[in-house]
């Protein structure tokens, strides 16, 4: 089995990329290329070259020329990670008439030059990696991608501004969309905001028309008060199981007249839409412009569900739309692609105990302030202290609460600077109070953002450069009594300052949804350490994921503002529309196959397969893999006691010979040592 004993039957070309100095700065590429040309002849190497940028068109042409002139039957490129350029080099081979799967890309950048500093060791490692690739590639087989039809429908998870945008783009193009939203209404966080920066448009004024469009769109099926439970299948053909929670309201009969929530005797603190600052009833719509307009009964707070009597809503409903017997409903929809636009959670400011939120009455969060400033909110748009009536005469706005802080979240939440500037403006405008902004850095990098900052400075907001050390009510002198005191180092002065204030607003950061990891698991994608969904490429492929057919958009991918969220929603939609229009999709042919003549019919593989892709033919007493269901994990290949299963692309021969190749140098050295 050892590669050396075999007579080379393949003609292999080896191409070592410099990647500028990215690889060549650490790995001696010329030496690796020379070594491969001289020492891997037994393995079939007939050409070995190094080049500045293999992925450039000149580099690709170099390979194509060799394929034609040298009659190469196999190609090994040693460059960056296959996750970046595998497709590039496969396509280059295809262009020269070589089956793309006869090309192997091995990583000497991410896994070698970028992570090592010892040049000699890195060069030796590169040789081993190349030898591994060469030994492996001779066992590659020409493969043809599997083509499967694409279901034209798309699932959009999350009915915030990102999901709304994505759903409308696809629906407007004429394809069906299922829009799933956990809350009773679509709209998301944007529906809670008062004004939007930097133009100070009323948030509801620009959002609600879009919400209405979604509600009326013939191609959009809204599934509100619903959650995705399970996703099966693969790109083009997903089967999605969705739980529709019982609303206890018959939507066919309900007119959304609102009599039920008027009559409902049970008042509940609304810690969701009103951020804890206001109340709602046990039967409610989150806000007047809710889409859909039908209310839900919150069975945890409803008197009837808790005590067995009341039913006031049912008594007064003019259309008999209340139905206490409704049960949760499980439905399954079939879609070809999925967009996750699940948004964000607000950082819990109580965790920063030195800022006193939850302990000191007049410390508010940004979300509370949004609701307070909103004319449809609990104070009718009046900015007042926790007593509900006193207008503050001095207000401090604290940036970076829970963000850019290793004690909480490392990242910058991206929106807080602009949001805090917006707050400063609103406080000024509505109360005339003195406003302080406490910041570490002011970040206003988008269009018209810095102009907004200039405007706020001009309005007279006082800026203190320093991360607030603490907010306290422990007065040190009579001037501080009865006030909140912000203690901070004014870093531009180099002195500690204590600033007595009536109100403090904490710009709490954005966090991934608390259940983002569970969600990622349902959809088969990954999360960063923080919990944000990971895109396929941070720069070049920001809305796709490593899982074909699953896209991400908006804050689920990372903190961003409304314009960026909308752009991502539209981008994900465009990507999907492009796929749907091709009507079918090519799948990677990494699949398992069972050699019937070797199969003993033991059925061990049947239970191993997580996708139920292996059928057992009772008549022939053998198993067979359904290539459309097989995902290519290879577990059955390993489990088969008869060795009757082959994993395409990852066959035993390929892996075992790669091990041989990787250890070629090591073994030589050991032999030398023994000799």
């Amino acid at each position: 089995m050892s590669a050396q004993e075999k007579k080379p039957k393949e003609r292999v070309g080896v191409y070592i990329c410099h990647c500028g100095t990215n690889i060549a700065g650490v790995v001696n590429v010329a030496e690796v290329s020379k070594w491969a040309g001289e020492n891997l002849v037994n393995q079939g190497v007939v050409v070995s070259r190094d080049y500045k940028f293999m992925c450039s068109s000149l580099g690709q042409e170099l390979i194509q020329k060799d394929i034609k002139e040298q009659k190469l039957t196999r190609v090994v490129v040693a460059a960056c990670s296959p996750h970046l350029h595998e497709k590039t080099f496969r396509n280059a081979c295809k262009g020269a008439g070589l089956n793309p799967y006869l090309c192997e890309l091995v990583s000497i950048r991410e896994q070698d030059s970028w992570v090592h500093t010892d040049k000699v060791a890195a060069t030796e490692k590169a040789k081993a990696i190349v030898a591994g690739g060469v030994s492996r590639v001779v066992y590659h087989e020409p493969l043809i991608p599997l083509k499967v039809p694409i279901h034209p429908a798309t699932l959009v998870v999350g009915g915030g501004i990102t999901g709304i945008q994505a759903a409308l783009e696809i629906a407007d193009a004429g394809f069906p969309v299922y829009l799933v939203e956990r809350e009773p209404s679509i709209g998301g966080h944007m529906a809670q905001f008062d004004k939007t920066f930097p133009t100070l448009d009323c948030s509801a004024c620009i959002l609600t028309p879009k919400m209405v469009d979604v509600g009326n769109h013939a191609n959009i099926t809204m599934l509100t008060y619903s959650e995705v439970q399970k996703v099966e299948g693969y790109v083009g053909n997903f089967a999605v199981t969705i739980k529709k929670r019982a609303r206890y309201v018959k939507t066919a009969d309900c007119t959304g007249c609102g009599i039920c929530w008027e009559k409902c005797p049970k008042k509940v603190i609304d810690d969701h839409f009103e951020a804890g600052l206001g109340y709602r009833k046990a039967v409610y719509t989150p806000f007047p412009q809710a889409v859909p307009k039908y209310p839900v009964i919150d069975d945890i707070n409803c008197t009837y569900f808790q005590k067995g009597t009341c039913k006031a809503c049912e008594k007064f409903c003019p259309t008999n739309a209340i139905d206490f017997t409704q049960k949760d409903e499980i439905i399954t929809v079939e879609v070809g692609n999925i967009i996750l636009a699940t948004g964000w959670d607000l950082f819990d400011a109580r965790r920063v105990t030195n800022y006193g939120y939850g302990r000191l009455a007049n410390v508010f969060t940004n979300m509370e302030f949004e609701r307070m400033s909103n004319s449809a909110g609990p104070t009718g748009g009046n900015i007042v202290l926790r007593d509900g009536k006193t207008t503050p005469r001095s207000v401090g706005i604290v940036h970076c609460v829970g963000s850019r802080d290793k004690n909480y979240n490392n990242y910058c939440s991206a929106i807080c600077c602009m949001q805090s500037l917006k707050f400063a403006h609103l406080v000024h405008e509505k109360t005339g109070a003195t406003v302080y902004n406490f910041y570490i850095d002011i970040r206003t990098p988008a269009k018209a953002y810095d102009e907004f900052y200039q405007r706020i400075i001009e309005e007279g907001t006082l800026f203190v450069r320093g991360k607030v050390a603490e907010v306290t009510d422990a007065a040190r002198n009579p001037g501080e009594e009865g006030k909140l005191i912000i203690q901070v180092e004014d870093t531009l002065v180099g002195k500690q300052r204590r600033i007595p204030l009536d109100m403090v607003i904490l710009s709490a950061g954005l966090e991934p949804r608390a259940d983002s990891k569970a969600l990622a698991k349902i959809f088969g994608i990954s999360c960063s350490v923080d919990g944000w969904f990971i895109e396929r490429h941070p720069k070049l492929d920001p809305v796709a994921t490593m899982t074909e057919g699953v896209y991400i958009a908006g804050c689920a991918q990372g903190p961003k503002d409304i314009p960026a969220s909308v752009a991502q929603g539209a981008a994900a939609a465009a990507r999907i529309l492009g796929k749907i229009q091709q009507k079918e999709i090519a799948l990677e042919p990494v699949r398992a196959t069972i050699h019937e003549e070797h199969c003993s019919g033991c059925r061990i593989c049947n239970t191993m397969c997580p996708f139920n892709a292996i059928l057992f033919h009772e008549d022939k007493m053998v198993s067979e893999v359904n290539p459309a269901l097989c995902q290519g994990c290879g577990t059955c290949v390993t489990a088969c006691p008869a060795g009757a299963i082959t994993g395409t692309g990852f066959s035993n021969e390929q892996i075992l010979s790669q091990i041989d190749g990787l250890l070629l140098l090591t073994l030589d050295k050991k032999k030398e040592a023994v000799a």
Binding site: T353, E470, A474, R476
Partner: protein
């Protein structure tokens, strides 16, 4: 209840005898067996660390080495003093985290025939043991004389909740362990905003103006909340707030009479122990009045010389001027 290795610390032998007696009484009541580490030495407080690194850590580590030697199955070192607790856990932490550093300290210990394996012992403060090992249920069960009507300011200080290498406390700024304990004793606990603020530490000796201000803030805040007593859990905190209260009053022209007690003293009272056996009467600011309010007769401390008499001829300002001069003429002093 299991045995603990006990590191009392120097103050317990001198300025904080009240703490010592009350700790012993309370631990006995709770079946917490404390085996004093034989021949322990001073932890160096914050002073040795200011001068040298290796000797400072070697000094601390000697105690850990002795404790490990005498462990006899016990794994926990209990320190009642926050500074001692922090130093012991700090040495264990850095010796464990940085292997080379641990080896260096052990090389020093070897000169005295000792060795400590970092990570072998767990260092805990007495409060932590009472809350998390004994449990509040057991504490409640021992209460025979609840402290109803006594308003207490729970004062935790710095070095217990910070840096808290092993995340033992509920929060580094507003931990609730001491509050819970005092509530279990039946006391009325105020939401003390300066719960973990600084008592001034050694600044009473170095920059009294700074220290006095820190002490004033604490006492004044507790007074604003109408606390009857401040409860401390560290001899340094207790001494700064108690022994220097007179000076602070003189310096700021205030007239605070805030008794500063150890949490174990209140525990002992609630457990029905006689005040005499809990070190009452040794405080500078008498707790007599405050305790009388809840029907407890504590010994009246023997009045020392009138401390609040205005010193003739030496008005208040000198310290400030001096402090100001200190920096401005710094160079001059150094060349003297």
């Amino acid at each position: 209840m299991s045995d603990y290795l006990f590191y009392p610390g120097c103050s317990m032998e001198s300025s904080a005898k009240a703490y010592y007696h009350s700790v012993m009484s309370v631990c006995k009541a709770l079946d917490v067996k404390l085996n004093e580490i034989e021949d322990w030495n001073c932890c160096g407080a914050t002073e040795y660390l200011s001068l040298d690194v290796t000797p400072a850590y070697a000094l601390i580590a000697r105690n850990l080495a002795l404790a490990e030697q005498q462990a006899n199955g016990a794994t926990t070192v209990v320190a009642p003093c926050s500074a001692c607790y922090l130093n012991l856990s700090k040495a264990d932490h850095y010796m464990h985290e940085n292997k080379a550093f641990g080896e260096k300290i052990n090389a020093a210990l070897a000169a005295g025939g000792l060795h400590y394996d970092p990570g072998q012992l767990v260092v805990r403060h007495l409060l932590d043991v009472v809350i998390n090992e004994v449990g509040l249920d057991k504490v409640k069960g021992k209460v025979v004389k609840p402290l109803g009507g006594l308003r207490v300011a729970p004062y935790v200080g710095c070095m217990l909740p910070r840096p808290d290498y092993n995340s033992r406390y509920s929060d580094s700024e507003h931990p609730y362990e001491l509050d819970d304990l005092l509530k279990a004793l039946g006391a009325e606990v105020i939401d003390f905003p300066l719960k973990t603020a600084c008592c001034g530490g050694h600044m009473t000796q170095i920059g009294p103006a700074t220290a006095f201000e820190l002490i004033r803030r604490l006492i004044s805040s507790a007074d604003d909340y109408k606390a009857d007593v401040i409860v401390a859990l560290c001899p340094m905190c207790q001494m700064n707030l108690d022994a220097f209260q007179g000076q602070v009053n003189g310096y700021f022209h205030t007239n605070y009479k805030m008794p500063i007690l150890f949490f174990t003293q209140l525990m002992g009272l609630a457990f029905g122990e006689k005040p005499e056996n809990l070190g009452f009467g040794s405080e500078f600011v008498s707790a007599h009045e405050a305790m009388k309010r809840i029907g407890v007769q504590t010994p009246v401390p023997e009045e020392a010389k009138p401390a609040r008499k205005k010193p003739a001829g030496l008005p208040m300002p000198p310290l400030r001027v001096r402090a100001g001069l200190k920096s401005a003429t710094g160079n001059k002093e150094a060349t003297e």
